[in-house]
Amino acid sequence: MTLSVKIKKALGSFDGGNSQSTGPDTGSLKSQRSAHSEKFELEVEFEVPPGFAILFGASGSGKTTTLKSISGIVRPDAGCISIDDEVLFDSGRRIDLPIRRRGVGYVFQDLALFPHLTVQANVEFGMSERPHSDRRRRAEAMMDALRISHTARRRPGEISGGEAQRVALARALTCKPRILLLDEPLSAIDEATKLGIISDLKSLNCELRLPILYVTHNREEAISLGERVIVYERGRVVARGEPIEVFGTPITTSVARLTGVENIFAGLVVGKSETGGTMTVEISDGSGVCLVDVPFGNEALGEHVTIAVPSGDILLATEEPRSTSLRNRLSGRISAIEDKVNRTVVSVHAGVTWNASVTRQAVKELGLSEGKEVWLAFKTHSCYLLDQTQ
């Protein structure tokens, strides 16, 4: 099963997703358009084969509107949406299937659990056509699989955020959807619970093999789940591909920022060596300056450039890494250590402040702590010269 999407829709500067619960859809979009001079058009085209596809981008870039268009809650101005051969929406052929006939499972950003029903009734909600015993059996199996059986008799107001997330997922899956849409499902959940749900989502994915479109602006989630990433910016797809490609080779400054490349610096070309294949760039941030070697390019001496270094490409060492091919070796002092979902970000002040991603294990083995002297090392080719047009 493959989902194909090609849509156009005029938007306000916010993608409506966060504000739509306050009013009817068309009304809030209209009022946003008049309230914000900054408006743009959502115009995207992509396909989602079975497996996770991450819709990645800043809030207000049109991600939620895309999900709402696929599910039929929002009607695009033009375009075509289909699952395999079945057309859900086609502006040219005037096809617009009602929401209930689309077979689209949707986990809303605010979950939208029915507050007047128990967890069990929420999970059974979409199976009202089936006989009672069948309904109960399937709901129980699904609650078991998602480890929420103990909440069956409680109401959504009486369970934790992580449990509520699983209930919403169970409710969507018991209807046997053909595709699954997840709108920032983990945004309001603590890190430990997140890891559990991510691993459950992964095993569900292996089992079901549905096209799953997962909206997030969190890089860790995108990397842990994504088989494909589609990067949105102001209503356009600006990058797509495997997470490694997309997050590893930032093309523009905005993509680099969006995809969470933590090290982006403005600099000046101060040396060029064509034979060595490198250029030396003096970079600076508010806290100081430092020299790095970057790949040889067309930039002239004295030209302003922007370079990006993915945090995962930076190696940390407790003593100077001498005999390696790494051209960039900087010594500095750890200024902060921050735990993220699946990695730890170590900030090191070495002329400028660098962020390096390492595992918790590495932090432990190297005995890293704030104030400790360390060496940073990375390859010339880990320094990307960014296109500054955007």
Binding site: S71, D110, A112, S128
Partner: protein, 221 residues
């Protein structure tokens, strides 16, 4: 005070109950339409439905007489179908009381329905539910407090209708004389004790209902 005639009071209760039943069905449907559907003339419809609240009851009664009278096509049709005319019967009193109560139900249920998160209704739709079932399984239960409150207000209003009832149903003791009309009659004829008994009973019922309505709507969230 020799003997109290309870007929006007029982008639009023019966008229108010039946009027409330009709008005809640029609009023909630209109309230849903106004809260959830966008169509040309939506606010005009809202204004038209609100009119009974602000028009003099005699104007309302006059419209109903013209519309439902024996010489009007509608009145004629009703008489042909039911075998009885509507005007100057207790059924006429039901219509008069119902029209007066309609704006209360429409306004209150529109507000209650508009307050239900549309995301919840959309979630139900993605789970395969039709509009009709979304209404019964999601919208209605979540708006139920407001709708019950609107029904109680409607009952209180219908119980007290005077002007329109007098014009459409008349003042026929033992047949169409409701409590509100009987109080007028009794006060005119100097039967003050009888008037007072009915006045106190109607006041107590109204106070109870309005109090309960407030409790229901204010305790919300």
């Amino acid at each position: 005070m020799a003997e109290i005639d309870w007929f006007p009071l029982t008639l009023s209760l019966r008229v108010a109950l039946i009027a409330t039943a009709f008005v809640v069905i029609i009023g909630v449907a209109l309230g849903w339409l106004l809260a959830r559907r966008r169509f040309f003339g939506r606010e005009l419809l809202d204004a038209a439905v609100t009119l009974p609240l602000v028009l003099p009851p005699t104007v309302l009664g006059y419209y109903l007489l013209v519309l439902l009278g024996r010489r009007s096509p509608v009145g004629h049709a009703i008489e042909a179908i039911t075998g009885q005319p509507l005007v100057f019967t207790w059924r006429g009193a039901v219509v008069a009381a119902g029209i007066g109560a309609l704006p209360l139900v429409v306004k209150t249920s529109r507000t209650a329905i508009a307050a239900v998160d549309t995301n919840l209704e959309n979630a139900a739709r993605t789970l395969g539910e039709s509009e009709w079932r979304v209404f019964w399984r999601v919208t209605m239960p979540l708006a139920s407090r407001g709708i019950i409150a609107s029904a109680m207000l409607a009952f209180a209003r219908a119980l007290g209708d005077f002007g329109a009832t007098l014009m459409v149903a008349g003042n026929i003791p033992g047949r169409t004389q409701t409590a509100a009309v009987a109080i007028f009659d009794a006060a005119q004829a100097g039967r003050d004790n009888y008037a007072l008994v009915l006045v106190l009973i109607l006041s107590a019922v109204a106070l109870t209902l309005v109090y309960a309505t407030n409790k229901l709507t204010i305790d919300r969230r």
